[in-house]
């Protein structure tokens, strides 16, 4: 019974990841893409834990999810610090064509 609810939640989260991918691909600025990647990483952490429940092997998937949360945070901080340092960043994709 609880496994059915967990499976439905995991499928809904996969659909949400696909919807977030639209913002990553066609976001107007670079920071929108970073924001979409951050949200996708959060959803992937949750999906890893739900997969651990579905396979009755949560003790292994918890470690993977913890590492994934750490990597997601470090990637976001690193990319935003890089964009903060470099002044030659094209924030608007319309400026690329000029």
């Amino acid at each position: 019974m609880i496994h059915l609810v967990v499976l439905c939640c995991a499928v809904i989260l996969l659909v949400l990841i696909l919807l977030c991918l639209y913002r990553v691909i066609s976001g107007p600025s670079v920071l929108d893409r970073i924001l979409g990647g951050n949200v996708i990483g959060t959803h992937a952490t949750v999906i890893l834990l739900l997969i651990g429940i579905l396979y009755n092997n949560l003790a292994m998937f918890v470690d993977i999810a913890l590492a994934y949360a750490l990597l997601n945070f470090i990637a976001t901080i690193g990319s935003t610090k890089y964009l903060l340092r470099s002044k030659r960043v094209f924030l608007d994709s319309r400026d690329d064509k000029n």
Partner: protein
């Protein structure tokens, strides 16, 4: 106990749905950031509470260790996700992203 776990799971997924609707529909970078960061943090914390309750249904030493790790993920996300949101918004503000005003209606 399964009803409580299902309630927390569905509430968390509902907050994720609200976050993704906000990311797709809102007109500006700052408003999208506002929708994404708060709803994402709350949704992930609710789902982690549900998984901790699921783990603690039968208390053994291994399950207790797993729930402590899950609690570590929860505390880390509670600290790290607003920090990441603050960093992205600070970068946008310094690089000069214009906020949305009432004049430009086009999304």
């Amino acid at each position: 106990m399964p009803a409580l776990i299902s309630l927390f799971l569905i509430a968390g997924v509902l907050f994720f749905v609200i976050a993704v609707i906000g990311i797709l529909r809102l007109p500006d970078f700052y408003t999208r950031m506002h929708a994404a960061s708060k709803c994402d943090t709350l949704g992930l914390m609710l789902i982690l509470v549900a998984i901790i309750l699921y783990t603690l249904q039968d208390i053994t030493l291994a399950n207790l260790l797993t729930s402590i790790k899950l609690l570590a993920i929860l505390v880390f996300v509670f600290v790290a996700s607003p920090t990441a949101a603050h960093s992205i918004t600070e970068s946008a503000l310094i690089n000069g992203v214009k906020p949305w005003t009432r004049e430009d209606r086009s999304p």
